[in-house]
C-alpha cells in the first residue's frame, strides 16, 4: 500500500488563526483522498506548514499554492525543492483566467442538439444537391477537354468496385436464389403450382433483388471505402495539395469513383440476378425435381424482356447514389479522426436508405408504364 498525504490543523498558541500542517508525501499518487477532505475543510487558517512533507511534486505544490491563494495563508517550512516548485506554479498561475469548455445544462442541451441535427439535415440536403451540381459541371468540363479524363483511375476503381466484389456478390446472390426457391416452393406446393417457382425466382431476381442486394453490398463495400479514403486524404491535406498543384479533386478523385460505380452497377446487378437464378435452379433440381436446364429454359419463356430492362435501368441510378453518398461524406471530413468514422457510417446509411426509398418509387413507376 502506498503512503498517503496527511494533514491536520494546529491551533495557534495565542488563540489566533490556526496552522495547516502537512505530513507524508505530497505527490500525484498520494494526494487523491486528502484533496477531497481539504476541499470540504471549513476552518480558517493563515499558515501552511509543509516542513513535515517527505516528497513533493508539482501536484503537491499546486495544492499548497491553491490553499495559500484561496485562504490568503502564508507557506512555511519549504525545502529548496518545494520552494522551486511553488514558485514555478505561482508564476504560471498568476493572472491567468480559468477557461473551461462551456457545457449547457441538460434541459437546454437536448433541444439545442435536436435543433442542430435538424439544421444540419437541411443544410446537408442543399450541400448534396450542390455536390451533384459540381460533379455535373466537372463532367461537362471533361467532355470539352477529354484529354484530362483519368482513364487509369477509372479502370482502377472499376476493378475495386466491380471485379473484386464478384465473389462476395456471387455467393450472396446464389444463397438468396436458394432461399427464394425454397420458401416459394413451400407456399406454391399448397396449390400444386410448383412450376411457378421459375416465374418467382426469375422475375424477382431480375426486377428487384439482384440490383437491390448488389446496391446494398456495394454501399457497404465501396461506398464506405470512398468515404474513408477521401476523408483520410482530406485530413492529411492530400486534397489541398492536389488543388495547389492544379489537379482538380473532383476530376481525379470523385468522378472516376462515381463513373466506375455507375458503370459497374448494371453489370454487377445482372450478374447477381443470373447467379440468383442459378441458385434457384440448383435448389429446384434437388428438391422439386425440375431439371437444372429445364429451369433455365423456362426462364426464357416466363420472364418478359422488360424485366431485365427494369433491373438494368435502376442499377446506374443506384450506383450514382451509392458513390455520391460516399464521395460527398468523405469530402466533408475535417478536424479529426472521429469524423472519418462518423462520415463513413453516414455514407452507408444514407446510400442504403435512399436506394430502398427510390426502389419503391421505381416499382410503382415501372408498373404504371406497363412493364408490370
Amino acid at each position: 500500500m502506498r503512503e498517503l498525504t496527511d494533514f491536520n490543523l494546529v491551533p495557534a498558541d495565542n488563540g489566533g488563526a490556526a496552522t495547516l500542517a502537512f505530513s507524508g508525501p505530497m505527490t500525484v499518487a498520494s494526494l487523491g483522498a486528502a484533496d477531497t477532505r481539504l476541499r470540504n475543510l471549513s476552518d480558517s487558517f493563515n499558515e501552511i506548514d509543509i516542513s513535515g512533507v517527505t516528497r513533493i511534486d508539482t501536484v503537491g505544490a499546486w495544492t499548497v499554492w491553491r490553499l495559500s491563494r484561496d485562504h490568503d495563508a502564508k507557506i512555511t517550512g519549504c525545502s529548496d525543492e518545494a520552494q522551486k516548485l511553488v514558485d514555478a506554479i505561482s508564476k504560471a498561475d498568476s493572472n491567468a483566467e480559468d477557461v473551461r469548455a462551456p457545457r449547457l445544462p441538460l434541459l437546454t442541451r437536448v433541444p439545442a442538439h435536436v435543433g442542430e441535427v435538424m439544421i444540419d439535415l437541411g443544410r446537408g440536403m442543399l450541400q448534396v444537391v450542390g455536390f451533384l451540381g459540381q460533379i455535373i459541371l466537372s463532367a461537362g468540363t471533361l467532355i470539352r477537354h477529354p484529354g484530362r479524363f483519368r482513364m487509369k483511375a477509372l479502370v482502377h476503381q472499376m476493378e475495386l468496385v466491380g471485379v473484386n466484389s464478384l465473389a462476395i456478390i456471387g455467393l450472396m446472390s446464389f444463397l438468396v436464389g436458394i432461399v427464394i426457391a425454397q420458401q416459394g416452393a413451400v407456399q406454391l406446393r399448397q396449390f400444386g403450382a410448383e412450376i411457378y417457382i421459375v416465374n418467382l425466382v426469375g422475375r424477382l431476381t431480375l426486377r428487384e433483388l439482384g440490383v437491390l442486394m448488389t446496391a446494398i453490398m456495394v454501399a457497404g463495400r465501396s461506398g464506405s471505402a470512398f468515404a474513408a479514403q477521401l476523408g483520410t486524404m482530406k485530413l492529411t491535406e492530400e486534397v489541398d495539395a492536389m488543388r495547389t498543384i492544379g489537379v482538380s479533386p473532383m476530376e481525379s478523385l470523385v468522378l472516376p469513383r462515381i463513373l466506375a460505380t455507375m458503370i459497374m452497377m448494371p453489370l454487377l446487378g445482372f450478374y447477381s440476378a443470373f447467379v440468383g437464378i442459378v441458385g434457384g435452379a440448383f435448389l429446384s433440381s434437388i428438391t422439386l425435381g425440375i431439371p437444372f436446364f429445364t429451369f433455365l429454359a423456362r426462364i426464357q419463356e416466363v420472364v418478359p424482356l422488360h424485366d431485365v430492362w427494369v433491373g438494368v435501368t435502376k442499377a446506374p441510378v443506384f450506383g450514382l447514389i451509392v458513390a455520391l453518398a460516399g464521395c460527398y461524406q468523405g469530402m466533408q471530413v475535417k478536424n479529426n479522426a472521429e469524423e472519418v468514422g462518423a462520415r463513413t457510417t453516414a455514407a452507408v446509411v444514407m446510400a442504403i436508405f435512399t436506394v430502398i426509398v427510390l426502389d419503391a418509387f421505381f416499382a410503382v413507376f415501372f408498373t404504371n408504364i406497363g412493364w408490370g
Binding site: V28, A29, L31, A33, T58, L85, A96, A101, N336
Partner: protein, 285 residues
C-alpha cells in the same frame, strides 16, 4: 549498477526490419538528471531507439532497463508502474484529436490515479498547460485549432501530466520558427531544472544541442559511436561527427553559442579577455 545512477541502460540492442539492420549491439547509458541529446543522420534509427526504450518496439536482441525495470521482457500490464514514471512527446505531438487540450492532459491522470477528484484533475491539467507556456484559453481548444508550436507545447503538457522522472522528446523543435524553437529550448531547460527531470532528447537542431544538452550521443554505423559533451565529441576524428559539428550549420550554431555565452558573461559582470569569436565564415571549408 543501481537504478539511481542510470535511469536508462541499453545493452546490446539489435533491431532488424526485414533485411535492413537498424541497430546492432547498441549500448547507451543515460545519467540521472541530465539532458542527453541524441543525434544521427536521417534513417539511423534515433526514433526506433526511443521506441525501443519505451517498449513500443521489441528488439530482436539485447536488453533495455528503465528505472531499474527490464523493459525488453516485461509484459504490457507488468510494466505499467514504469509507464506512470515517464512522459513522451512524439514528433507531431500525437494529441488525441477528439479531446480538448485539457482533456488530453487529464487522460494519463484519469488512467493512473482515478481517485483524484474532477476538480483537482482539472486544476492540474490547467496549470500543466500554463507551465508549458500555453495561454489559459488553450485548455478548451481542440488540437485541430492549434498551431504546430502550440501542439508541441500541449504534447509536452500531457507528457508532464504525471510529474514523470523521465522525459522522452522526439525532435521537439522541428518545424518551429527560430524564436519559437529557442523559447521551447528554454522551456525544456527550465522544466528540467525545476522538476529534476532526466531528458532523452532526439534532435537535429544544433542550437538545441549547444543550448541545453549536457551530453550528446551520436548514432552511426548501427550503434552509439560516442557519448560526451560537445567539446569531447569535437576532439574525436570520426568523419561523420566532424562533418556534423564542423559543417557550415554546425559552425554557425557554435559561434552563436560562443557569442551568447559572451553576452551572458558580460551581463553577469565578468570580463572576457580577448577572444571574441571571429571564426564565422567558410574560410576553412
Amino acid at each position: 549498477m543501481s537504478e539511481g545512477e542510470f535511469p536508462i541502460r541499453v545493452r546490446g540492442v539489435r533491431n532488424v526490419f526485414g533485411s535492413h539492420v537498424i541497430h546492432d549491439g547498441l549500448d547507451l547509458d543515460v545519467r540521472k538528471g541530465e539532458i542527453l541529446g541524441v543525434v544521427g543522420g536521417s534513417g539511423t534509427g534515433k526514433s526506433v531507439l526511443m521506441r525501443t526504450i519505451i517498449g513500443l518496439q521489441i528488439p530482436d536482441a539485447g536488453e533495455v532497463e528503465v528505472l531499474g525495470d527490464t523493459i525488453t521482457d516485461a509484459r504490457d500490464d507488468a510494466d505499467i508502474d514504469i509507464r506512470s514514471r515517464w512522459g513522451v512527446l512524439f514528433q507531431g505531438g500525437a494529441l488525441f484529436s477528439t479531446l480538448t487540450v485539457a482533456e488530453n492532459v487529464e487522460v494519463p491522470l484519469r488512467e493512473f490515479f482515478p481517485e483524484i477528484t474532477d476538480e483537482l484533475r482539472h486544476e492540474i491539467a490547467r496549470y500543466k498547460v500554463l507551465l508549458s507556456g500555453l495561454p489559459a484559453e488553450a485548455t478548451a481548444k481542440y488540437p485541430s485549432e492549434l498551431s504546430g508550436g502550440m501542439k508541441k507545447r500541449a504534447g509536452l503538457a500531457r507528457a508532464l501530466a504525471l510529474d514523470p522522472e523521465l522525459l522522452f522528446l522526439d525532435e521537439p523543435t522541428a518545424g518551429l520558427d527560430p524564436i519559437g524553437a529557442a523559447a521551447f529550448d528554454q522551456l525544456i531547460l527550465n522544466l528540467q531544472q525545476t522538476l529534476d527531470l532526466t531528458v532523452f532528447l532526439i534532435t537535429h537542431d544544433l542550437d538545441t544541442l549547444y543550448e541545453i544538452c549536457d551530453r550528446v550521443a551520436v548514432i552511426a554505423d548501427r550503434k552509439v559511436i560516442a557519448v560526451g559533451t560537445i567539446p569531447e565529441l569535437l576532439a574525436l576524428d570520426h568523419p561523420w561527427i566532424q562533418e556534423y559539428f564542423n559543417g557550415p550549420r554546425g559552425r554557425a550554431a557554435q559561434d552563436s553559442q560562443v557569442r551568447h555565452d559572451a553576452v551572458k558573461a558580460q551581463i553577469s559582470g565578468e570580463t572576457i579577455s580577448n577572444d571574441t569569436p571571429s571564426r564565422a565564415g567558410p574560410d576553412e571549408a
